[in-house]
Amino acid sequence: MALSELLFAGRSPLLVAFFSVGYLFMFLPAVALAFCLAPRRARRMVLLGASYVFYWLVSGTLIAYLLATTLSAHYFGLWLDRLLRGRDEALKALPRDQRKPLRAQWQRKIRGVVALAVVLHVGVLALVKYSGFFLGNVNALMEAVGLSLRLRIPAYLQPLGISFFTLQALSYILDVCRGTQKADDNLPRLALFIAFFPQIVEGPICRYGDTAARLWDVGPMNLDDVKLGLQRILYGAMKKVVIADRLNRMVGALFKTPDAYGGGFVALAAVCYTVQLYMDFSGSMDAVCGTAQMFGVAMPENFQRPFFARTISEFWQRWHITLGAWLRDYLFYPISTSGPMKALTLKARKRLGNHYGPLLAGAAALFLVWLCNGLWHGAGWNYIFFGMYHFALILSGSLAAPLLRAAGDRLRIDGERLPWRIARTLRTCALVVIGELFFRAETLGAGLHMFGRMVSDFSFSAKTAALRELHFDRYDAVIVLVTLAIVFAVSLVNERGASVRAWLKARPTAVRWALLYALIFYILIFGAYGHDYDAVIPLYANY
């Protein structure tokens, strides 16, 4: 037996399922116990140790990528810090009117180091995640032009969470470069920030300035935090185990063999997948935030009731918030406010006016953001299409905004009245569902085919055998709808600025206990687990 096998390397991939017995009743209690027993200064090391044990159990020797990313971020951060201090000292020694050429020289050095860091980190990610896709397309192109040469496509094992921890490490390096974050010479603190076990596999993508100190200076566990954390985990379990996992087999069957079903079923597949994805991802985020809260650490939120959005732009400010913020801060703003783009905006404003002028530079930056957003999710043309679809929607929304406003004024339509708000919300939901159809489809071609069938053959016809493959009966439909109604009610209360958790905390003990028991048994009775169901790894754990 290899040493790595002896040490349980990669033996527990199901630990990434936050609602599994292994995570909830073995790993998390063990970490909590070790945390409580540890002296104050050792608690942070307990979290760090637990994070590496978690990653080792889940991904085995691929932990090398995580360690390499951490060391790289640490030393690049120190290098940049040295360069920035060197630059400041050199500039201080010169009179003000002589600083410009020296500043430019130093900036070139700093940009060179940043470029090296970005190329290294993104390069590893690209190699591991995208080389197969890229080389496959090169081979297809060569075949199309009649060349016999074929490139060998390497197969790399993809470390879990690489898309998340790479972006997190890069954000640290870029913040040091911008001067918004001082380089940290405390390697374990940076290591804990990158590897913290609840968020390493699915995010949220944290910022060093917001999270690192909170993690490092973590205090003792207190009962209130543990109770609130567990409540949040329970709520997430309801979303994932009752709704998302219940829809999984039906969605899988509909996307695998869409031709066995009428176009109405295709539409149903898209809707159900969107619901599954939201419940799965937001449910997992509840587990992440709940776990962190148990240790007294606040994680940034990744969802703000996205299906209440009235425009696609607003939707993306409410969905996977930390990824959107990362792309905005490290891609969109640097591109759209760069020298060439500012010059372009100035020229465009003179010709196209104050609304359409800036849109040109914005569109270029937005295009890159959405290309990266699509590709970040996966190596496939359907993901690129997904990104471009949302780019087109957001851009067309911005282009049409003045016309729609004028039309609204002319027709005396008050867009803030409830029927219009509902109509805009439903329209946004429909557009999102169409995008998710392509996102989930096995290939872009399959997605286009499914969309075509949905539009041209909207029926609910299907053979009996095909219907049996859905493993979904009217009882399942009732439970999904009832649970969605519960989630909707809670979301509506939160959208109005109230807090269901604060309300619950203020209730008498008997009421709190009754509601908690109801939630626990709702999950235990109606959860999609056990021998009738397949275990479902969190969907975003694959990215």
Partner: protein
């Protein structure tokens, strides 16, 4: 009262309430009969609960390799001893331990036969932790019965009376020939957890004075030399006998073009008949098993065998 004591009492009270409610809901969720209509899962294996106490001589445990290979009614007709196949789809060794205990609750078998495919079905530590909890609180296993609950589930006691005619054997008469060699690719490694459950099975048999026999049912897909080696080592460590029916395919007279319904993975009824006949002779030669043929107390077996084997062969 100090806040910490209050909090501890509060937590303890909450957990006690949870346990009480789990017990209550479990009473309701537990199937009140052992038929499919009662919501009992694994109906063929669950028929063991309805067999008259002390009447089963041999208990088979394992997965689909077991329930597609061994025909208790053919063993009865040809050798005269009774048997029951308590095998379930992808049965893991922790489940085998539970089935063994369940089968031996009302039976006193003279032999336990463990089909070895279960040695290679992975178990994770979460499943191992959940095992005793599921046993104590059947709600976790039967929670999906909420779709089929009836009034009697709320007040009746379980009564298992549904007799399964084929005694756990699952009949399949289709033929899909084996085509290419696709033996199991693993190295036959039996992990720590599975080894621990194997030891539990061995200890149980030893404590109750029941001989244990490990057998590998014929399969062109789930078998390999590596598994042969590790299965014989496992049997040795338990002090149990081991029989590899794969090595005896020619003696048994198996024809992999006609004796399988899924390209060599499992035997169909033709293959199962041959394998069972051979195995029955082996058991009669090596173990002191009674012959109940002619015993009026077992006339139900005659009736069942007449009907089932007429349908099967």
């Amino acid at each position: 009262m100090r806040q910490s004591v209050k909090s501890a009492l509060g937590c303890a009270g909450f957990i006690l309430g949870l346990v009480a409610l789990l017990a209550l809901f479990s009473r309701v969720a537990l199937p009140k009969g052992n038929s499919a209509a009662d919501g009992m899962p694994n109906v063929p294996a669950s028929g063991i609960d309805a067999e008259p106490p002390g009447t089963i001589d041999v208990i088979f445990v394992g997965d689909s390799e077991c329930y597609y290979t061994f025909m208790p009614l053919l063993l009865w007709r040809e050798q005269g001893f009774t048997s029951y196949v308590c095998a379930t789809p992808s049965q893991t060794l922790n489940q085998t331990v539970r089935w063994l205990r369940r089968a031996c609750k009302n039976q006193s078998p003279k032999l336990i036969v463990l089909e070895t495919d279960a040695l290679y079905t992975g178990i994770n530590y979460g499943d191992a932790l959940l095992d005793p909890v599921e046993r104590a609180f059947p709600l976790l296993e039967h929670h999906n019965r909420w779709k089929d609950l009836r009034w009697r589930d709320f007040w009746a006691e379980p009564e298992y009376r549904h007799i399964v005619r084929d005694k756990g054997y699952v009949y399949n008469d289709e033929t899909v020939a084996f085509e290419t060699a696709a033996a199991a690719e693993d190295d036959g490694y039996v992990g720590r957890l599975r080894s621990a459950y194997l030891r539990q099975i061995g200890d149980y048999c030893r404590e109750h004075g029941i001989p244990l026999l490990l057998v590998s049912a014929p399969s062109m897909v789930t078998w390999s030399d590596a598994r042969l080696v590790s299965a014989s080592r496992a049997a040795q460590s338990l002090g149990a006998d081991y029989l590899d029916l794969n090595a005896l395919s020619d003696e048994i007279g198996l024809d992999w073009r006609n004796d399988t319904f899924d390209q060599g993975y499992h035997l169909n009824v033709s293959g199962a008949t041959k394998a069972t006949t051979y195995f029955g002779q082996y058991l009669s030669r090596h173990y002191s098993l009674p012959d109940h043929r002619g015993d009026k107390a077992y006339k139900a077996w005659n009736k069942a065998a007449k009907k089932a084997l007429k349908d099967a062969i």
